[in-house]
Amino acid sequence: MSNWYVYIDSETQGPFSDEKIKEMIQSGKITNEMNVMKEGTKEWLVAGAVPELQGKTAPSKKQSPSSSPSQSQPKEDFMKNVIDEEGLCPTCGYFTGSLLTCPRCGARVKNKIALSVVKKISIIGSFIGVIFLWLAAYYKQPTLIKVAEVDEQMNGAYVTIVGKVVSYNEDEGKDTLKMKIDDGSGQPIGVNAFKKLKQIKQLFGSDENMPAVGDLVQVTGVLNITDKFGVSMFLQIPERLQVTEKFQMKEIKIGDLKKENIDEIVKLKAHIISVSERTTKKGTKMYIINLGDETGRIGMTIFEAAFEKLPPETKELLTTVGTEFETAIRIGEYRGEFQATILDYTKIKKLGTVEISEAEAASASANSGSSGFSNGMSANVKSSDIGDLNESSVNNVYKVKAGIAKFAKRKTKKGKDMYSLKLTDKTGSINVTIFDGDYNSMSASVKKIIETEGNEIEVALKISEYNGRIQGGIADVNSIKKTGTFDLDKSEDGEEESPKYKKKQDASEDAPVKKIGELTLADKGKSVKIEGAEIKFVSSNDKGMNLTLGDDSGKIKIMIWENMIEKIPGLADVEKGASISGIFAVDAYNEKLQLKIKNPKSIKIE
């Protein structure tokens, strides 16, 4: 006598005795396909395969619940089509898939990977994996890189950059901080902290501790590289910005300014001598402010757009004659004159007011059209003969004593007046162009001096070059002095050039061949030869063309004015993808390198 367990309706029933089992078989409650297990054993068997029960069971009349109305094929054929023998239970032939135990007969299906094992691996592995990733991130140190090393594959890289802040801008409205950092390797990189300004200020505590222009900072963030805007960095976490060295600004007197101080940031204590408004060629307003201290004077220009953004108290401070203040400025230069640019208009410290004498104010106003002047600059100017001026003289100021061989009034392409002087000494000649702004700022007596051919004058000239020829501009209208008369008959005719002048033209053809990526801010002002650069981008406007050139080392922009376009064959119709070679002058605008056409005859477009 044995007892049996039966697996009916998804549950184990029993134990039933032999008789009971037979009754259930006869009544049809147990069919051939059902699973039975003898008490005392652990093995489920198919009822139809048990010899003790053989012949006593009725065939099943029920359909398998797994069949669906949509299947028109017999179940066996269907199963044959979709599964192979390895997917069937070896005992009852039921489809088991990846299950370890047959759901119908309970038979152990061997040589399978248990699904439960895989599930456990996935859960446990997930937690271990997340912990591993967290640990890896926790101990990861960002890579210290130089901006010059960045390439296109580093988009999204987590890096640290150490460099000097060259520009700094807070936007309280957008809660954003933007600055540019120069690590000395190439172009500066922009660092943007969107919606983080308040947190950064809280972190640094006070304005004095905040990063400022000139400070050495260490920034860690994620690089963002785009073809259009170049490389920048997102600063997501304020704690990743550190000031490693605060910039110690030196205080300087205006009279002590030298050419080496250009682009430096210094602390200036000065008072406002005069304020005047002027309209630019584009029709916008600008404010010319002359500042002075006991040693000299310096000009400052604020354009309308920037002026309108200033708080009212700052506007009042900067437009009140006699106001003495102290602030950080960057020394610049314009047409041979030093210029001051206030770095942060919110950090101007008013010291008081001083009295400005009428003579001082009048003298400053008279020269306001020339964007300010500096006595100190004129005092430091070297003298030179015209024949000694060459390529290396460009962008420098020299005191020249020469006779006025020719004076002429002309019109520019835009219809404005301009004046040209031809100055001649025993070594050579030079053309000097005076624009109407400078001309109008001259006193009547000075005008008379320069309009009289045959006068010998001493003047400070800013040397420049135009179309490969050296020319001069008046650096300081106050420096024009009549020193005598000049014998017109002995003067050389206009077209003859001094030997050194000619050599200057040839010298540009010896310009070194360089790749775009090799150019740095140190090359500013120099000539370079670029060969086979591809034109990546072309846009035109009424003033000229903007091109982006590229080679395998990098890209650079070039601005070509309208009058230059006509001189270069094929340039007006040039398209993206064309190749350009020639001699260019390296320039920079807002710390970003760009090129100018040095020698239009050298430009070849293919």
Binding site: S10, E11, S70, N81, V82, I83, D84, E86, G87, G97, S98, I113, L115, V118, I121, S122, I123, G125, S126, F127, I128, G129, V130, F132, L133, W134, A136, A137, Y138, K140, T143, I145, D151, E152, Q153, M154, N155, G156, A157, Y158, K195, K196, Q199, V222, L223, I225, T226, D227, K228, Q236, I237, P238, E239, E534, K536, F537, D551, D552, K576, G577
Partner: protein
């Protein structure tokens, strides 16, 4: 000459994309990454203006040809579940060819919609894009909430004890939540402190996606005991009606536009949205008949409705796919005064932006490339489908998967950043296995991008970084 080169590179992109997309589990973004590296090396020899058409052709051919591995190799990426699900059932019934080609036709229909409608969207989109941009963080948050809450218990409540019944019913929902949470944590870790070395950072997302989607699919497929049934490839007809395209157009277009517009939302998520918006899932209701006798209800199950739902699903999925993959990339070229830098979305934009910036006139060239490449890709799809059906019974699928696994691991090591990439892929594979074996949605893994993006947009990214101690 320029025109000829554009056509030539479009052709090259179509063929390259078509052939490489046949490899199961290899995503187009991995292929694009390799192409970008090659382009950087050859940038002196390849004209700059061919980049756009080449990568556009790559994307278009992927949108078509990836139907084949998803149908026949079950190599599903996250999009597959909501764009091509009926193909498995159709494959078993011997209708694999129908499944693949109907989906391809839907994709072609989507390409036509894209080409015809995009110029109009060009004028509308900036006005939608600009105001929406500032609010994307909570839009993404809402999408996440809807997505998590719309998963329903799939278990039948089997078990002897109440706990067993509860577990059986809800295990998939909790598994989905677990996947979501773990993926979010991984995403927050990776975005706060990317683990890839700097020189491989442009592919820093590759180990994560291969781990979440590719490797679990491969493991699942290799564990499967199923053999592929015979499918026919000789028929000159498709079991399809033109009305199926009409039904499928709206949900497909809506889903595709949602995905193309909102960052980090993919086809799977948007398809569910679109399905609910357009109610196209409830075609079955049409099967109810009026009762013949009063006070009785008759539910007549009409098989044709069921099959029509399958076809509509495939058509909508096909449209959704191309509008997402190609439309998101196409928006990059929609340069307007309001959007001077375009409105591009999607992985291809992120991959290409260091080396390519479009200009105003490029949009027309891209539209032409989309249409040209779509036509070619549809032909390729039909040919490749027939070829796949012919060779499927003869090849050892497990061997194919094994080779693909080795290829992906090598790719991961070389392009993803060495051992760290393999470690990240291992961790994410474990997380990716949860949806596979606990029957929840794989799209929960997209929390790896959605959650960090939403939190960063809302300004809480740094707070989370502090919480995780990853300063």
């Amino acid at each position: 000459m320029e025109g000829i080169l554009v056509i030539a590179f479009s052709l090259l992109g179509t063929i390259a994309g078509g052939l490489l997309c046949l490899i199961p589990s290899l995503h187009i973004y991995n292929v694009a990454g390799i192409a970008i590296i090659l382009w950087i090396e050859l940038s002196n020899k390849i004209p700059y203006y061919t980049i756009g058409p080449f990568f556009m052709a790559l994307m278009v051919s992927f949108a078509f040809i990836n139907t084949i591995p998803m149908t026949f190799f079950s190599a599903a990426d996250e999009s597959a579940g909501a764009s091509i699900l009926p193909t498995t059932d159709m494959l078993k019934s011997g209708k694999g060819r129908d499944a693949s080609v109907i989906s391809g036709l839907g994709t072609f229909f989507g390409a036509v919609i894209l080409v015809l409608l995009t110029p109009f969207v060009f004028y509308l989109a900036p006005y939608i894009y600009l105001p929406v941009r500032a609010h994307l963080h909570w839009i993404i948050g809402l999408i996440l909430v809807f997505y998590v809450m719309s998963e329903w218990p799939k278990g039948a409540g089997r078990g002897k004890t109440p706990w067993a019944k509860f577990k059986n019913s809800w295990h998939n929902c909790f598994a989905g939540l677990l996947t979501f949470v773990l993926s979010s944590i991984i995403g927050l870790i990776i975005t706060t402190k990317p683990l890839a070395p700097p020189e491989k950072s442009f592919q820093n997302i590759m180990p994560i996606f291969l781990g979440f989607f590719a490797f679990p699919s491969i493991i699942q497929a290799m564990m499967s005991e199923a053999k592929y049934p015979e499918n026919q490839y000789n028929s000159k007809y498709l079991n399809c009606k033109w009305s199926d395209f009409g039904y499928g157009a709206l949900p497909g277009t809506i889903g595709g536009l949602i995905t193309a517009f909102i960052p980090a939302v993919t086809v799977g998520i948007s398809a569910i949205f679109a399905g609910h918006i357009t109610n196209h899932r409830n075609l079955r209701q049409a099967s109810f008949e009026k009762p013949k006798n009063p006070n009785t209800a008759v539910h007549v199950h009409i098989p044709e409705i069921y099959y029509q739902q399958e076809r509509v699903f495939l058509v909508a999925g096909g449209i959704n796919k191309i509008i997402y993959y190609v439309g998101a990339f196409l928006f990059l070229f929609a340069i307007t005064d309001l959007t001077p830098n375009g409105m591009g979305r999607g992985g291809m934009n992120i991959l290409l932006k260091p080396i390519f910036s479009p200009e105003r006139g490029d949009f027309a060239v891209m539209l032409a490339t989309v249409f040209f490449t779509s036509s070619l890709s549809l032909l390729l799809l039909i040919y490749f489908t027939d070829w796949t059906i012919k060779i499927m019974p003869k090849i050892n699928v497990r061997l194919v998967y094994g080779i693909v696994t080795v290829v992906l691991l090598v790719l991961l090591y070389v392009m993803g950043g060495g051992w760290m990439a393999l470690g990240v892929a291992a961790a994410t594979t474990c997380v990716g296995l949860i949806p596979v074996f606990f029957s929840c949605r794989r799209s929960h893994c997209m929390a790896v991008l959605l959650v960090p993006i939403a939190l960063n947009m809302a300004g809480y990214g740094d707070a989370i970084a502090r919480l995780l101690g990853l300063m």
